[in-house]
Each structure stands twice: as C-alpha cells, then as structure tokens.
Amino acid sequence: MAAKKSKETFEELYRRLEETVGKLEEGGLPLERSLALYEDGMTLARRCQEMLDAAQVRIRQLRGTLAAPSEPEAGEEEIPWDDAES
C-alpha cells in the first residue's frame, strides 16, 4: 500500500549534511563556494531538526500473517498510538 517514497528521507538529508560539513572543513574552496556550502549545511540541519521535531510514531498491524484459520484476507489496520502512554 505504501507507495515508493519520493520525498527526501531523514537519512538522505543527514548524509548530505555530513558531506557538506566535511567539504567545508576540508577547505581549499573559493570563498563563494564555501559560503554556499555553509548555507546549504545550515538549511539541511534545520530541515533535519524540523523532521525530528514534527515526528510522530506510526504503528500499523498487518493482517493475515497470524497463523490462525479464522483470520481474514491479508490487509492492515492502523493502531492508534497515544504518546502519553510512554
């Protein structure tokens, strides 16, 4: 059911952030390029943080794998998750 995600993943953003920091720290770049890297890095860090701040765990249960003959056809259901429980 879940379609192949086209959005950027946290992992991808974080990897790019690490790359950017690495390049900037390595140096040897023209000043303008350095400034562009700095801005890119800060944007990436902010987006990572926003993703973390906004995240809410989602819990889903597959149907039909529980080995019991009475189970309905394969499907799924969302389980409500109360964060306060934790």
Binding site: A2, A3, K4, K5, T9, F10, E11, Y14, L17, E18, T20, V21, L24, E25, G27, L29, L31, S34, L35, L37, Y38, G41, M42, A45, C48, Q49, M51, L52, A55, Q56, V57, R58, I59, R60, Q61, L62, G64, T65, L66, A67, A68, A74, I79, W81, D83, E85, S86
Partner: protein, 421 residues
C-alpha cells in the same frame, strides 16, 4: 489363494523401502550404550547400541556431520543418545541405524536437537559473520514479528516512540509459542519482506522455558531469517537465552527492549549531533572568512609596498610647476617692458612733440599741407607752431627737386636748419 515366491533381493528392497518411508524412523533419537566399536580406514565408525534387552547395529559415516567432538563421545561403554535414521543394509540383510549426531546421555532432547541443528546450519553457512548485514542508522520502517497482545510489542513501541518517532512500526502478528508459532513467524517475516522499504525486522519474544522458546530453534524459522531481504534483529527471551534464530539473525539483541534500542538512534543524540554539525559549519566558515581577510590584508600590504613613488612624482610636478610659473612671470615682465618702450616711442611720435622741436604744421582749409601742389598763390593758410597758430598767405610756390640743388633760401629755412649747412 495364490502363492507367490519372492527373491531375497526383492524382500530386502521391499523392507528397506518400508523402513525409509516411515517418518518416525527417518528422524529419530535412540539412547543406549556403545559397544563393539570399530573404525574403518576410511574414517567411518561402526558400533552397536544396546540396552539390557536389545541391540541395534549402527554406522556413522565420516562426512555425515561436522560434529567435532564425536570421537570423544563414541567410545565403548559410553552412554549416548544418537540421532539418525533406521534402514536396511541389503547386502547383509542387517537392520542398521545410520547415525548423524551423537550427544552424551543426560542431555535433554530439545537441547540435543538444538545442538544438532546448530551444527548443521553452521556447516551450511547460515551463521557466516560475513553475511551479517549492518542496520540503517535512521530507519523509516521497522517491522516487528511478535505477539500482538504481549508486553514485548508494547515495550518496543514505547521505546521507539520515545527514541525515534520518525519510524513507522509495522507489526506482523504471530503466535510466538506452540504449534502455530513456527508457521506464524515464517509467514510474518515473509509478509514484512513483501512490504516496500522495510529497513529492519525485529523477531521478538519475551522470556520463557526452552520449550516455550522452541519455535525460534526450528529450522524453518532459521531459514526464513536467512532468506529475509531486510536485516533481522532477533530478540528472544532473556539475555542468557541463545536461540538458533539468534545465530542466523544479522544482529542478536539480548532482550526485545534492547532490540528497539539497537534498531534506531536516540533522537536527542541526533539533535545533539545536528547542533555539533551546525557548530562545525560555523567554525569552518569563520575560519575561511578569517583566512580570506588575512589574504586580503596581506595583498593590501604587498600592494602598498609595490605602489609607484607617488610622492616623489608629486614633488617633481610641483617643481615643474614652479619653474613654469617663473618662466611665465619672466615672459610677462619682458612683455611689460616692451610695452613701456612702445608707449615712450608712441609718445615721441605725437605731433606736439614735433612742434615743440620747432616744426610747424601748415593747414589749408583744415587739411594738412604736405605738397606745394596743394596750394596756389594767394591761398590763405593756417600755420600752427608749438604754442599757437597764425594765418599766412602763399605768395609764390616752388617745387623742390632732390636732384637739383636749390638755393636754401627758397626753402623754409626754420624748418630745415640742417639744410643750411
């Protein structure tokens, strides 16, 4: 009633096939005392297992197992439990027990099964450390195969909700003990592998007895774990419990809660790392800027050093200007003197100056008389001298030729005193 006569071969073959199609005899544990032990040059073991009343011939072919402690276990008089299958050796018509695994007497059957499967799967390469996959640092989809009702799944959710809420947790519910557990776990792993982008699958069960945990020691579960595309974290029982699943899994977690901590980072640690990256970015860019400012300063310094001697040139220009000024002044002064000279000259040319020297100006009817031809005898003239004028009259006129010498008295003697000489 029909009588049929069989050959010996057909009977022994029939018996062998009968024995080999019996499921109980194909996979059986037999306990007894080892006797009549012999070892062939090829490395196979032949012995008899016996108890108080009976005995059975046994053969253990080299290569039937990789069990390394076999020679020490199989010795005359030893009480052992052997695993294998029962069949007929047709050449001699002997019933034989084809042994593939031996354990000392006193070990529980489950423990023996465990050891046997472990050796077999290890031999097959299912535990190879080289094929263990590493877990993604920031998982987005975490599968869990476990009981939907137990505390295990709840605990995993609580920990993930706290540590890594970016993830989606997908539960493949399954019984985790009893008859249905093996089928459920295998189906759960398969179903989660059918889900797109599953980053990791936790196969979990809480603590229990060896019997209760047994499903995780079944070969089918081991093979399902081995076949999984997503890395598998096993978390079965307590820290001290080791299952076959643990050996096959990519990562073994000592407990289900630990599994939840292993599969995902702690978001606060990640936030800290993000701040660290920000600080690194700021430090690096400040360093670059300082470096550039430094370069700029250096360049300015060098430029000043290399600049042309402006002051000296300026002084030169000043000097030139001064010289030019002096020259202009001198030129002007000369001109002024010249003009003064001209003025004096001009003044000396004024008619009054001539009159003062004794010359007279003769006019006739307002015009200056320059020639005798301008007058005739009897004309009235005005004669101007330096201090006034008086009238005169022409009495006679005479041209003066420069060639002919004229008597001086015919001239105006007062005007040409020099001619008198």
């Amino acid at each position: 009633m029909s009588m049929q006569v069989y050959s010996v071969s057909s009977i022994t073959t029939y018996l062998r096939e009968l024995l080999e199609t019996d499921p109980h005899l194909a996979d059986i544990w037999v306990s007894g005392e080892v006797s009549n032990l012999s070892r062939s040059t090829a490395g196979h073991f032949y012995f008899t297992l016996k108890d108080a009343d009976s005995q059975i011939r046994c053969v253990f072919f080299r290569g039937a197992t990789l069990q390394r402690d076999l020679p020490s276990l199989v010795e005359s008089g030893a009480q052992v439990v052997a695993h294998g299958r029962v069949s007929l050796y047709e050449v001699r018509g002997d019933l034989q027990f084809y042994v593939d695994f031996v354990q000392p007497e006193g070990v529980g059957v489950l423990a023996m099964e465990f050891e046997r499967l472990k050796v077999r799967l290890e031999q097959e390469g299912l535990f190879e450390p080289s094929r263990k996959r590493s877990l993604k640092p920031f998982p987005e989809r975490i599968g869990v195969v476990s009981s939907p009702t137990g505390a295990v799944f709840h605990d995993i959710c609580v920990i993930l909700a706290r540590r890594w809420p970016l993830a989606e947790i997908v539960l493949a519910p399954s019984a985790v003990q009893g008859m249905e557990a093996v089928r459920g776990i295998v189906a759960g792993i398969a179903a989660l592998n059918d889900e797109p982008d599953m980053d990791v699958i936790i196969v979990a069960r809480g603590g229990g007895s060896l019997e209760e945990l047994w499903a995780f020691n079944e070969e089918a579960v081991a093979r399902a774990i081995y076949a999984s595309h997503a890395p598998i974290v096993s978390a079965v029982g307590h820290e001290t419990d080791y299952s076959i699943a643990d050996y096959v899994a990519d990562v073994r977690a000592p407990t289900p809660s630990t599994a939840a901590e292993l599969v995902a980072p702690d978001r606060y640690a990640v936030l800290g790392a993000l701040n660290g990256h920000r600080a690194s970015l700021s430090t690096a860019i400040r360093f670059r800027l300082d470096e550039n400012v430094g370069c700029l300063r250096g360049a300015m310094g060098r430029m000043q050093h290399c600049a042309p001697p402006v002051d000296r040139e300026r002084q030169k220009v000043d000097d030139a200007l001064r010289v030019a000024g002096a020259l202009v002044d001198a030129a002007l002064g000369r001109n002024r003197d010249q003009v003064g000279g001209f003025l004096l000259q001009l003044r000396s040319l004024h008619p009054r100056a001539t009159l003062a020297r004794g010359y007279a100006l003769v006019e006739r009817e307002g015009s200056v008389v320059r020639s005798v031809r301008q007058v005739k005898t009897g004309d009235a003239l005005d004669v101007r001298v330096s201090d006034g004028a008086f009238p005169a009259r022409v009495e006679a006129k005479k041209s003066v030729s420069r060639r002919k010498s004229r008597p001086p008295q015919e001239m105006q003697p007062a005007l040409f005193p020099s001619d008198k000489a």
